[in-house]
């Protein structure tokens, strides 16, 4: 790669996917070698929220929008304490941000946390490749330029299927997010985003955040008004311990789950999950609220999904499932986006009503949580 600015050292970076698909760029932050599942996000704004979202643990994220870094980094927009992506891929990084809130550059922020950021990649080609052949494992290296060696490395990397990523991002100790609020909510942290906590707070909840492996007994001992199941990274079948505890809470306390939380709730109710070909990540998917036929533009970030049996099948399925009601559907691919069980006072959403980044169309769902918590 040509060094066209004297003062900067340009380091070549190679991206290789498990099927050998190779693109060459240069680093704009950090160096070294890193593996992960390569996924793309189609949001045109919100790179800071994306890189700090714990759901991206284990993933190398590429932004389809080509210009990234434009408005810098600020303290308010973090979704967790640090970047969570394994690495970040962009078409063109901007090292001269301008925004009144900006406190530094994306490069500085990533380097502070030893995250590799690369640019000069045809991110559209990468996106199209993933779309056609599915999400796959990949490796970024600035130290090894032998493609065959990189293919070997990436194929020896086990990937995310069946792997518990939650334990890497869940809090280790219980903590109090805030102290005031009409409703006491225990939020099980599978990798919770700050904006979810902020939304709960805004909706008059006092939130106690507990680690993912907290027992149902411990949670019920607190006698909360409701239990919240958070978003989180990786394969939902990799955390049977979480599903087991949620099962014990069913019917005892109102439950609201988001994203990974829906996948946990779904399993607790007896539904299965599956991996999507390349996932949903972005801020523009239409979701239909089946209760009022209104379409919400949603923020999406999930690689797995809860299986959607049709109404008749559900009826036949017995257990809790016969009373399960599908509430939200993705209009792009008809996948399940939300369900509820009125008797058990639980409901969940596959996408992100808290947005961050993305449209705020679905924030009413936090109000609905309030409502079921107040029906005593």
């Amino acid at each position: 790669m040509y060094k066209y600015r004297e003062e900067e050292l340009i380091i070549k970076a190679i991206l290789v996917l498990e099927d050998g698909f190779t693109l060459i760029g240069r680093t704009f932050a950090g160096s070294g070698e890193i593996k992960g599942e390569v996924v793309f996000n189609t949001s045109m704004t919100g790179y800071q929220e994306i890189i700090t979202d714990p759901s991206y643990k284990g993933q190398i994220v590429t932004m389809t929008y080509p210009l990234i870094g434009n408005y810098g980094i600020n303290i308010h927009d973090n979704e967790s304490k640090k970047p969570q992506v394994e690495a970040f891929i962009v078409r063109e990084y901007c090292d001269y941000p301008h925004n009144w809130q900006s406190e530094g550059t994306l490069k500085e922020y990533l380097e502070q946390h030893n995250i590799i950021g690369i640019e000069g990649i045809d991110t559209r080609a990468l996106t199209r490749h993933i779309r056609q052949d599915g999400a796959m494992k990949g490796i970024i290296s600035t130290i090894d330029d032998d493609i065959d060696s990189l293919i070997d490395k990436v194929n020896n990397y086990p990937g995310l299927i069946g792997k518990d990523m939650v334990k890497h991002v869940s809090c280790q100790e219980e903590y109090q997010w805030n102290t005031e609020g009409k409703y006491h909510v225990v939020a099980i942290d599978y990798g919770i985003k700050n904006s979810i906590l902020k939304m709960l707070e805004e909706n008059d909840c006092k939130v106690t955040v507990v680690p993912a492996n907290t027992s149902a007994e411990k949670i019920l001992d607190k006698n909360p008004d409701g239990v919240f199941l958070s978003n989180g990274p990786g394969d939902p079948v990799s955390v049977p311990y979480a599903v087991k505890e949620v099962k014990k809470i069913l019917g005892k306390k109102p439950i609201f789950g988001i994203c990974f939380g829906q996948q946990i709730l779904g399993q607790a109710l007896g539904l299965s999950t599956y991996k999507l070909k390349f996932g949903h990540r972005g801020g523009n998917h239409p979701v239909k609220n089946l209760a009022n036929n209104h379409v919400e533009i949603s923020t999406q970030n999930h690689g797995f999904c809860v299986e959607l049996p049709d109404k008749n099948e559900l009826k036949k399925m017995g257990g809790y499932l016969k009373d399960l009601e599908v509430t939200h559907k993705n209009l792009n691919d008809n996948t399940l986006e939300g369900f509820k069980h009125t008797g058990l006072k639980c409901f969940s959403i596959q996408y992100h009503p808290e947005a961050a980044p993305g449209p705020h169309d679905s924030r009413y769902l936090f109000k609905e949580f309030n409502e079921i918590m107040s029906e005593k």
């Binding site: 927009d77 925004n99 045809d122 559209r124 996106t127 705020h360």
Partner: protein, 1091 residues
């Protein structure tokens, strides 16, 4: 919920002639709407006075009325057609205003016509600025300190409270007409009083200034179930203070964080719901304070707008088509995304490229007008550049503009060269910085280039930000382009003789990624463009094509809409089908407008019918040609040799059609031919033959035809000699400019000398051309099609203004209204002779001048002319389509065409001018074209057709009152019969002394009025007091200029119809006679064509 079945017939209002602020984007939106609703099975009734549009093609609607867009006329159409609904949101401000009027007057209610798309309340809430602000305050959306006033006193009072600068915006005007920024009390007085006058409601809004804030726009869609999506977000490069139509704009938003963007989005949703736009598109503008993020809403358009067209092209989301379908009851989730097929239209496009729009101005057409940009829009067109980065899209857009720039400077066209600026000494540098500073502080059409000079001089981003308030993010990107240029320059080492040898491939590749054109590289490396191209191809640095797919690659896309970039993957693949490429016309400008886009679109339709794959290349986002379903493949690219060759290398078309896009593609003819590209139709050689004076004169002589006597002069002496030979008056013009620029008629040696002294720099490279001016001759335009053997005449048009007025500015009638059949026959024969001699394959346009029995040939253009759509609409046959078939090899004799015949109805084309936007500019017509658009009037007789054309152009002919006549001595005898006819119709006559005396001598009753400066009350007072309803004024020539200009400007401001030629006056009285004698009736094209 499916479409509505309780309505069957829908009336759609077009936007009328192309004017500044309302361009051909409404042809795009209107055409989409017509197509979409027709497909849904509705009966479409269309009214639009503009014949140059695709939407007025008879196939687009069931009933097409090319009639003036006036309330009375629309009422007549409603009475005749009895539509169930009126869709007003696709015809720009014109459509919306008319719909409001019809609602208020009760016409809609009387005939039970439902407004669909936007109801009257919503229109009021969005359009009445005070009401809008009140509503915004109610829902907690930030607004500006402002006051709505109807008097100058109230304006001054507000200024006392808030301070300067202040922004003034008149209510209900197009493109901010009559608005401005006042920095002091004098300016406020001027602008406010003019603004109050301009506003149809005599209202202006004065606001606190937010000049320097960041400006944003959101494009929204809403359906009747209250689903709302943001189709596109736009950020302005230029800060607040420059009209958004005059700003460089970029999509999507670049410098807002997600939080800021979502808050803006939330407000936009709130606004559209509160205003109550039931269905369809809306556009909302916001300003954001860069210091603290404070956000205010500026305005809302409850309709499809110029920005909607841009947003459609920028995202691939068919806003107009979908808006039309929502208006008839569909919901967004019921409609398909036509690009992905699998996903619904209810989503927000994600784009993975950057779009830059740059306006195109024509300031040089209006001498004396400064190129400063304000809140009043002055641009006449725009281009859009698509790239993977802002840098690439900006440079592509700049070279799309066709102002002979090949990117952001470094193209050999800079006023100050890089070398010049980098070699200044300290004091010279300081001087230069001062010079440039002025150009940065006051926004102007050249500012983008001055930013480069400033950066070369070492001015830093902070300083430039302080001067321009252009976001630092943009400035940084500009700096990166310059850094790249510097790096390229550095790579030229003195040791190698071949500058390209030392050019690193990666650097070259990156330069291309930054949007550098081969021409810029050629300039930097001092090579020919072709050498750069060869080197590039050798190094395999080649453009790839990416898809515009609305979803950033997330879904498979089926619509072939491409842009070029320098990237890893190419997505455009050649099919095996026989393919023809059409090169479009680029940006609209005076002299090359929608007419050429019309021809390109017709060609695309014809090629599809002939089962060819159609590849369209164009860079104008306002057009129908850049609608992705017009052709089989759309390349949204600059029309330059480099960009066209890139596409040719990928597509290998069987042929390329150049003759429909105006001058733009023709300029490439020889170069493309040289590269082995097959040019369909008339050969570049033949085109050249007609443009080369000497060669052309030979042909004229050979055919024993006549041209006005002429000569070429390299000095005043030579010029004088020629003038003596051919006798005055003569028409003079520089040899090197096209389109009538700097052309003048001179009557004596003094004027000739003055012209040579002042207007042109005479040199051996730049001689002037001198033609005998055929005073009083009738000019005739002919459009014809030839196939090498036969030639069929499409139409013979008689100009109303005499020869000497640019044909694009002259009104004309089809068929001729005064020429004898013998003359017409002779003109037809001469046309055929010339077509044969020039070996024309396709269209040919010839301009003749008829003086007495003599026929002179003024100009031959073997290509599509501006009048093709007008002729096609009139005769009911698409000449461009037929010409396309000829170019594919079909013979006219096999097409079963009839020879041109006089129709039993008559159509008049009238030009529309932008004078009101350019204070102080004279409105007199001359050899330089100044009109931006045209309208057509059609009726059974000339008078009525003329009256309708005037009405369409916004000139309501008076039926009673006073006529002021002030003509020069040459015209006194000519004006007499006209004056008599006015008297006969009951008008009283007023004239200035000379004219009055003459008329009185001829026993007409006349009141004498003082000229300006000859005592009060004078002409101006009369006009101001509404004592004059029509003005006949033939200019005195160069001498009495100033006062005459003042008088004509006053007429313009008071909207008093004015004739500056005898022929114009004659036509006007004929129109008035008809209007007084008979009822004005409406009739659709379909009815005319059947008859």
């Amino acid at each position: 919920m499916p479409k509505r079945t309780d309505i069957e017939k829908i009336l759609i209002i077009g936007s009328g002639p192309i004017v500044i602020g309302q361009g051909c984007e409404f042809d795009y939106s209107g055409s989409q709407a017509c197509k979409a609703l027709k497909q849904e099975g509705y009966t479409i009734v269309l009214i639009n006075s503009n014949p140059a549009t695709i939407m007025t093609d008879p196939e687009m609607a069931d009933r097409t009325y090319i009639e003036p867009i006036e309330p009375d006329i629309i009422e007549k159409i409603i009475v005749k057609e009895r539509p169930d609904a009126l869709l007003p949101t696709l015809g720009g401000q014109t459509g919306l205003n008319i719909a409001s009027t019809l609602h208020q007057s009760g016409v809609l209610k009387k005939y039970d016509v439902e407004l669909i798309g936007a109801n009257f309340d919503a229109i009021q809430k969005a359009e009445d600025r005070q009401l809008f602000k009140d509503v915004m305050s109610d829902i907690g959306v930030g607004v500006l300190e402002s006051a709505h006033v109807t008097t100058l006193e109230a304006a001054l009072e507000f200024a006392d409270q808030v301070g300067y600068p202040l922004i003034i915006r008149p209510s209900f005007t197009l493109g901010g007409t009559g608005g401005g920024i006042a920095y002091n009390i004098d300016e406020l007085k001027d602008i406010a009083s003019n603004g109050i006058y301009q506003s149809p409601t005599d209202q202006i809004l004065i606001e606190e200034s937010i000049i320097g804030w960041k400006e944003y726009e959101l494009e929204l869609m809403r359906d009747k179930n209250d689903n709302v999506v943001i189709v596109c977000s736009i950020e302005n490069f230029d800060a607040m203070g420059v009209h958004t139509g005059d700003s460089i704009t970029v999509a999507p938003i670049q410098t807002l964080s997600d939080k800021e963007y979502q808050e803006m989005r939330n407000e936009a949703l709130k606004i559209i719901r509160e205003v109550g736009v039931e269905t369809g598109g809306s556009n909302i503008q916001f300003a954001v304070n860069p210091e603290n993020g404070r956000r205010v809403v500026i305005e809302m358009n409850p309709r499809v707008s110029r920005s909607s067209a841009l947003a459609s092209k920028a995202t691939g989301f068919a806003i107009a088509k979908i808006a039309a379908k929502l208006a008839v009851g569909y919901t967004l989730d019921e409609l398909q995304n036509e690009i992905t097929y699998e996903t619904p239209a209810c989503f927000e496009p994600a784009i993975d490229y950057v779009v830059t729009k740059i306006p195109r101005w024509d300031f040089e057409k209006f001498p004396g007008v400064k190129n400063n940009l304000t809140t009043q829009m002055k641009s006449v067109g725009e281009v859009m550049g698509i790239g993977r980065t802002f840098k690439e899209s900006l440079q592509k857009a700049l070279r799309s503009l066709e102002q002979d720039r090949h990117g952001w400077g470094a193209d050999g066209k800079d006023i100050y060269t890089y070398q010049e600026l980098t070699s200044l000494d300290q004091s010279e540098k300081a001087d230069m910085i001062n010079k440039i500073k002025i150009k940065l502080i006051t926004p102007n059409s050249e500012r983008i280039f001055y930013l480069r000079y400033a950066l070369i001089l070492g001015m830093d981003i902070e300083t430039l930000y302080e001067y321009t308030k252009i976001d630092k993010w943009f400035l940084y990107n500009l700096k990166q382009i310059l850094d790249m240029e510097v790096e390229l320059r550095k790579s030229i080492t003195s040791t190698t003789s071949d500058s390209l040898k030392s050019l690193d491939r990666d650097l070259l590749y990156q330069a291309k990624q930054y949007g550098f054109s081969d021409k810029q590289l050629a300039y930097i490396f001092n090579k020919d463009e072709s050498m750069i191209r060869e080197h590039r191809i050798q190094e395999s640095v080649e453009a790839v094509f990416k898809l515009v797919d609305t979803c950033a690659g997330e879904f498979k896309a089926y619509t072939p809409y491409y842009y070029s970039s320098y990237e890893f993957e190419n997505e455009s693949h050649r099919s095996e089908k026989s393919k023809v490429m059409i090169l479009g016309g680029g940006p609209n400008r005076i002299g090359q407008g929608i007419e050429f886009d019309y021809c390109c679109v017709q060609a695309a339709y014809a090629l599809k019918e002939e089962n060819r794959e159609v590849i369209m290349v164009n860079c104008n986002p306002e057009t129908v040609s850049t609608d992705y379903d017009t052709s089989d493949k759309l390349y949204f690219e600059p029309i330059t040799l480099e960009d066209v060759l890139n596409i040719c290398r990928k597509e290998e078309p069987d042929g390329v059609i150049l003759q429909f896009g105006g001058q733009t593609p023709l300029k490439l003819a020889f170069a493309l031919e040289k590269e082995g590209i097959n040019i369909l139709g008339t050969s570049p050689n033949s085109i050249d033959l007609s443009e080369d004076r000497e060669k052309f004169s030979e042909i004229i002589n050979k055919l024993e035809l006549k041209q006005p006597p002429n000569g070429i002069a390299y000095s005043f002496q030579q010029a004088k000699k020629i003038a003596d030979r051919i006798t005055y008056p003569v028409l003079v013009r520089p040899s090197y400019v096209l389109g009538g620029r700097a052309m003048e008629v001179v009557y004596d040696d003094a004027a000739l000398e003055n012209y040579i002294d002042k207007a042109v720099e005479l040199s051996t490279e730049h001689p002037i051309l001198i033609d005998k001016f055929l005073e009083g001759a009738i000019e005739v335009d002919v459009d014809a099609i030839a196939d090498g053997e036969d030639c069929i005449i499409g139409g013979v048009m008689e100009h109303i203004e005499m020869a000497g007025v640019h044909s694009g500015d002259s009104a004309c009638a089809l068929p001729p209204y005064s020429l004898s059949d013998i003359i017409i026959e002779e003109i037809k024969q001469q046309t055929k002779q010339l077509a044969k001699e020039l070996n024309v394959l396709g269209l040919i346009n010839i301009q003749f001048a008829v003086k007495g029995e003599q026929i002179y040939i003024l100009e031959v253009n073997p290509r599509a002319s501006r009048t093709i759509p007008f002729v096609s609409k009139t005769i009911g046959n698409s000449l461009a389509k037929l010409a396309t078939r000829v170019m594919l090899g079909e013979k006219l004799s096999d097409m079963g065409l009839d020879e041109y015949q006089k129709t039993n109805y008559i159509a008049v084309k009238e030009a529309v001018f932008p004078f009101i936007k350019f204070p102080g500019v004279d409105i007199v017509l001359g050899p330089e074209m100044k009109s931006t658009g045209e309208v057509m009037g059609i009726d059974d007789n000339f008078g009525m057709a003329f009256a309708k054309a005037q009405m369409g152009a916004g000139v309501l002919l008076p039926l009673e009152g006073s006529v002021l006549i002030t003509v020069n001595d040459r015209h006194k005898a000519d004006v007499l019969p006209i004056a008599k006819r006015f008297r006969k119709e009951g008008f009283s006559l007023i004239a200035t002394k000379g004219t009055a005396d003459y008329l009185r001598d001829n026993r007409l009753e006349v009141e004498t009025v003082s000229k300006i400066g000859e005592g009060r009350p004078d002409i101006i007072d009369y006009m101001k007091n509404d004592d004059i309803q029509f003005l006949i004024n033939s200019p005195e020539g160069k001498a009495a200029l100033k006062d005459e200009i003042k008088m004509r400007r006053q007429a313009l401001l008071k909207n008093i119809p004015i004739a500056t030629t005898i022929q114009g006056a004659q036509a006007t009285i004929e129109g008035i006679e008809q209007l007084r004698a008979s009822k004005l009736d409406v009739k659709s094209l379909q009815e005319y064509h059947v008859d």
